[in-house]
Point group: C2
Chain length 475, copies 2
């Protein structure tokens, strides 16, 4: 059985939910396979996605209240997150109406060359793994599911163990909405349990998988996909340390503002975001560390999402504290409940910085690295593992340094932020929520924004076909 818990008390949150059996997984994949031709060929997918969004919106209060019992994220955040989730569904509905995702290309016959027409087609039924840190937006009806359904791929989603009842309620609302507008049965189903997730990934009829979660878990699942008889693409978004570089002039002129922004981003959602600014590089002679110490001391932690995440956070900060040369810069007030995390920021000099400190500490913990000069910093940055985001703080006099820094950051991160913070990933067309390995396992793709639909498409070219047999987008 899968049991959710209330992070405020550590007590069970409602009744447990049954794990999906081997037969259950097979049955859900079988209905997805059966649904594929009709869903892939449906001209009504935009309308259907909009109907699903409407149904979730209509149940926002119930969804947020239930999720709060399993996450303690609070009604304001959860209400907003349902809106983000339905916004994503509507964004993909708009993308379907626009049609650009099909990328039709026509090369008319010319000389010896035949008439060739290429268009993107849905890859087949796909698996989606829900994340616990976004119980809606990256969960069973989150961005992976929305983009895959938009592409024409039926989805079998694996619910996160920490939120079984939120996943059940979400799935019920989505399934009923799909049925009400006449979508094929089997277009969307969910499964529960780690074993069910593994069986799903190994099922020969599953053609691709999306995942948001930990590096260790994601790399293990990536291996499962690679070792199948027919390997499938695994779009894993595994998080990172998202380096922030404060350039000298900005550090001098805006120290207090930068410190406040940093600690706000670091502790947002109790630090449980894959874009959390885990690593900050500041000039060695700047007043920033002192400002940060003051701000961290005044900050408060919160209840983490699960016992497992809390334990991993505790282990991570203990490991960081033991690295030679690392000192504790400051700690905030602990969060409430059995899994209440304490914000903690460590300091180290660039000379004593080691690869160990480039590990993600999932939670409100950061490492501030003091650098003597940009020339010393650049090779250290270039050697960092891949990141979802990197941030520069600069004032006008820092621009020559920024021009040296940018080419390095462009190779270690999928998104670069100027004078802002990496948390808060806007759901817009130009978003790139991806990054070099191991931040993601498929760096050419994104899991947020309209381009997320491309993960579920493969091109097919038609040579010398009569118009009546071509897909309508190619006629």
């Amino acid at each position: 059985m899968i049991q959710g818990f209330d992070p405020r008390t550590g007590e069970p949150a409602g009744e447990p939910v049954a794990e999906t059996t081997e037969a259950g997984v097979s049955a859900k994949v079988a209905v997805a396979v059966a649904a594929f031709p009709a869903w892939a060929g449906s001209a009504r997918r935009a309308e259907v996605l909009a109907a699903v969004a409407g149904a979730l919106d209509a149940n926002t209060a119930e969804l947020a209240a239930l999720a709060d019992t399993e996450t303690a994220l609070g009604m304001e955040r959860l209400t907003g997150e349902v809106g983000r989730t339905t916004g994503q569904l509507r964004m993909f509905a708009a993308e379907l109406r626009d049609g650009g995702y099909l990328d039709p290309v026509i090369s008319p016959a010319a000389g010896a060359a035949p008439d060739l027409r290429r268009v993107n087609r849905p890859v087949g039924p796909v698996a989606v793994f829900a994340a616990s840190n976004f119980p809606f937006a990256f969960s069973v009806a989150g961005g992976d599911t929305a983009s895959a359904l938009a592409a024409g791929c039926p989805v079998v989603a694996k619910a996160h163990e920490a939120q079984p009842r939120t996943a059940e309620l979400t799935a019920r609302i989505v399934t009923e909405a799909l049925a009400a507008v006449g979508a094929p049965a089997g277009t969307f189903t969910i499964v529960h349990g780690v074993d069910a997730g593994l069986r799903l990934l190994r099922h020969p009829s599953i053609t691709a998988a999306g995942f948001t979660g930990s590096t260790a878990g994601g790399l293990a699942l990536a291996r499962v996909c690679a070792e199948r008889e027919v390997p499938i693409p695994f779009f894993g978004e595994l998080g990172s340390v998202n380096p922030v570089v404060v350039l000298p002039s900005a550090a001098q002129s805006r120290g207090a503002e930068i410190a406040a922004g940093y600690v706000g981003s670091l502790t947002l959602g109790t630090g449980q975001f894959c874009t959390n600014p885990g690593l900050m590089f500041v000039p060695a002679d700047s007043p920033l560390p002192a400002s940060i110490a003051d701000t961290v001391t005044a900050s408060s932690g919160g209840a983490m999402l699960s016992a497992r995440i809390f334990a991993a956070y505790q282990d991570a900060v203990v490991a960081t504290a033991k690295v030679p040369g690392v000192t504790m810069l400051a700690a905030g007030k602990p969060g409430e409940g059995p899994w209440g995390a304490t914000p903690q920021v460590f300091a180290v000099s660039l000379k004593e910085f080691t690869a160990e400190l480039a590990r993600e500490q999932f939670g409100p913990a950061g490492v501030v690295v003091t650098y003597p000069s940009l020339d010393d910093l650049l090779p250290v940055l270039a050697a960092l593992p891949g990141n979802l985001a990197a941030t520069i703080h600069l004032d006008a006099p820092d621009e020559p340094l920024a021009r040296q820094l940018l080419p390095v950051l462009e190779r270690i991160a999928g998104r670069i932020i100027c004078n802002g913070w990496p948390t808060g990933v806007a759901v817009v067309a130009a978003q790139q929520h991806g990054g070099p390995y191991p931040a993601t396992t498929a760096p050419a793709f994104t899991s947020v924004g309209t381009a997320a639909i491309r993960r579920w498409l493969v091109p097919v070219a038609y040579q010398n076909f009569p118009p009546e047999l071509l897909p309508s987008s190619l006629r």
Copy 2:
């Protein structure tokens, strides 16, 4: 030492070429790494590619004559293939001038959403593995190299063992042309030898690899890429059996024409094409097998490219002949020389068709499968491994059957041909030379056509950047 051989005689073709040492591979990657920033940032890549094309064109006669000593493909084919190769370089030069490959997307600030701008950037230095069956167009300066250079990625190409001197001459012409127009040193180099190729793939500074070749070799290299500390994308084009389905009306009305087309495609280039029509499905009651038998009997083989390819072909046809239910339909006249292949076509009923017969026989050998009805055929087709191409022959009365067949072919092949043959892959924008695993290891991509450049690009998004720090395509 790497020794090429003349397929007409089996004798050594010129002097051997030295294998690249471990230090040699490191040195070539090091110059590629050094070249990357300047080449990636160069605004002159179109001009440079055009200059390389011009230099190769100017040396066509010498290139073709040398390649003929190592391949026996003949001056006409080889002269044409140099033209195809320089055509590819010019096509990517045009794509660079067009700029569409950058895919810039701008989402202006709106409400809480920041200004976000995304653009494609070159991934870094890449490795390219040359194929033996196209000594120019898929070799060291072939489509993989042209598309990677266009993307802004320096290339270290691994020459094929069968054509060391052709590769050396090509590389010398390309390198001199690059130097003459001022491209960064290290933009393009080659290495020789299997060990050098493996070292190249494992080098931490190599960021992606392109390969055209055998399934066994390609899957082994794909594993090397996946098992690196930082895995890299492996764009492997591994060939396939490219099923052809002849529908009943076409089989009745155009039997002789289809038989002639089939045998022409099967024996073209002594069958040494990844798009060779290895598997043909014809109605059980049609006159086609008899027509094919006549045409095959009248056909002639040719000299295969190497002793290894010839031996593999012999083994493959022996294995096919041993499959229960398989009979020899007809054989043609043997090719000349020690590696002269004989065209061979086998027959089997759909009932006795097994997965063993869906293995590629690289060479002029085919299997003709007689099917009782399309309903019987569809599940067999659906279970085939992935293919680069699939072909339908149809007359107007076959269209209802074609509508049932197309959705199945769309899932097992990257290109579908109507009333034609799969060999002859046009180099045009709409081309899709890719297909489901194991035809290719990255089915969302293509190795021919303008979209081939996408393999070497990763998107980066810039958030709230001042215009003067943005890439010019995003201002």
